[in-house]
């Protein structure tokens, strides 16, 4: 009898302990600061947006969300640094087109975005437009195509493999043009290069016109479909899809947070709830800087679908250019 009582006591203690620890773990996340890894340099648009989001999440979660910048290396070191940390929800990754889309498609990476990560949401977005200087002879996109044929104009982009570059490459391919690409590191720098005459044409963002006023002229928006914010930033400018039905100008620029695959479901839920509460409201949207566009997608399934749509869009483009890594 004594033995049975002892065994029962032991079992119930064990059960209590496990149960207690379980609830303790559940109730405790987050109990220490969270790290957000950003694969861009500090100060740029992607970084600023990530910081604003980190700040909002931090208020919801009650712990600091610290941004760590790990730029360079085709975003691989930053991505891997998240995968090297434990899957406990204390390391978040700020994913973006390079890290989740272009780099895995164009080179062998030690990770697979949709297998190794659980994407939580997407927020930041951008759309690109083609710009020339205000004193350029090309006043319409059609004139530009005519004038650019047979010449190799200098095209300014920010970085190789980044969406502006891919949009430019796609456009060249669709319209039978050839360009010499000059990578000037950031979008403002490429537009500055345009104004200074270093390049003849540049890919900037739709919102870039705000900063450069009458020094540059938009020719066309490099997208198939019209998004809501186009009218606000570039009134009267057509998209490729509208002006040339049948020509492809798909662009995919999104970014958001993700955690390592294998993170416990309850932790993921806390993060999802916090992000929805923090960012899916008017006050937050009003705090987004003018130069940054916003396209909200929330939840693991929806965000995964969004990322998959990007892969579906870019794979054939990259394949056609011989850049798809097989």
């Amino acid at each position: 009898m004594k033995r049975i009582i002892k065994q029962l006591a032991g079992l119930s203690l064990a059960a209590l302990a496990v149960f207690g620890m379980g609830t303790a773990a559940q109730a405790a996340y987050p109990e220490k600061p969270i790290t957000l890894v950003v694969s861009f340099a500090a100060g740029g648009n992607a970084d600023v947006m990530a910081r604003i989001q980190a700040e909002a999440m931090s208020k919801e979660l009650g712990v600091p969300v610290n941004v760590v910048n790990r730029p360079g290396g085709a975003h691989v070191p930053a991505t891997m640094s998240v995968l090297e940390a434990p899957a406990d929800g204390y390391t978040l990754f700020n994913w973006s087109p390079p890290s989740f889309m272009v780099v895995p498609l164009t080179r062998a990476t030690p990770y697979k975005p949709l297998e190794d990560f659980v994407p939580l949401f997407a927020g930041i977005s951008a759309s690109n437009a083609l710009y020339v200087r205000s004193d350029s002879p090309y006043t319409t996109f059609e004139e530009f195509i005519e004038g650019a044929k047979g010449k190799k104009l200098k095209m300014g982009v920010n970085n190789l493999g980044a969406p502006p570059n891919l949009s430019a490459v796609q456009m060249a391919d669709q319209f039978g043009l050839e360009f010499t690409t000059i990578a000037l590191k950031t979008v403002p720098a490429s537009l500055n290069g345009l104004v200074a005459g270093e390049v003849d044409v540049a890919v900037g963002q739709v919102a870039s016109l705000n900063a450069f006023g009458d020094k540059i002229r938009p020719l066309i928006i490099l997208d198939n479909n019209r998004k809501d914010f186009y009218e606000k930033d570039l009134p009267g400018v057509r998209t490729v899809g509208e002006a040339f039905p049948g020509k492809e100008a798909g662009a995919w620029v999104h970014g958001g947070f993700a955690v390592k695959a294998g993170t416990p479901d309850d932790v993921v839920k806390v993060l999802l709830d916090a992000s929805a509460a923090a960012m899916d409201n008017d006050a937050f949207r009003a705090s987004i800087p003018k130069a940054i566009s916003w396209y909200w997608v929330h939840g693991v399934e929806d965000t995964t679908a969004l990322i998959q749509s990007g892969k579906d869009l870019y794979s054939p483009i990259l394949d056609g250019l011989g850049l798809l890594h097989k």
Partner: protein
């Protein structure tokens, strides 16, 4: 101990070997198509390696022909064995500590590193060890609690 002349010539020879190896690696660099760059990826590294090699040969000849470069004829690398020992042992202790950190984690490495580096430098007095330990402890605290660094 070890004249500058001998040491520099040995170093120059080792450098040339390294340069050759690096050039061999560079010739294998691939240039993906995305850039449309006019110059292949291996261009710059090879040009620079050639430049370094040229300069190395020139100063190597300076050492061979004149016994020195920049007026260090007759100089020595280490004044005496004690000096060499202190410098080199500190170097070895530091690198060993790093290896230990990689394999066994920060705590172990920290506990081994602090005394061994101080020892290598020639510290013998107990109070000095104590001060160093305290300084190390304070640094650790400031970084973990002040800056939120997580040493693993």
């Amino acid at each position: 101990m070890i004249s500058q002349r001998v040491a520099n010539l040995v170093f120059a020879a080792m450098l040339m070997v390294t340069l050759a190896y690096m050039a061999w690696l560079a010739s294998g660099f691939e240039t993906p198509a995305l850039g449309g760059a006019t110059l292949p990826t291996h261009f710059f590294p090879l040009v620079l390696l050639a430049f370094i090699a040229t300069c190395t040969v020139i100063y190597g000849f300076e050492y061979i022909l004149t016994g020195g470069s920049g007026g260090d004829q007759g100089d020595v690398v280490y004044e005496d064995w004690l000096q060499a020992r202190r410098g080199l042992f500190t170097l070895i202790a530091t690198c060993a500590s790093f290896m230990i950190w990689r394999e066994f984690g920060f705590a172990v490495a920290g506990l081994i590193a602090t005394p061994s580096i101080a020892l290598a430098m020639g510290t013998r007095k107990l109070w000095q060890f104590a001060v160093i330990f305290m300084g190390a402890g304070m640094t650790y605290l400031v970084f973990t609690h002040g800056l939120g660094t997580q040493f693993s």
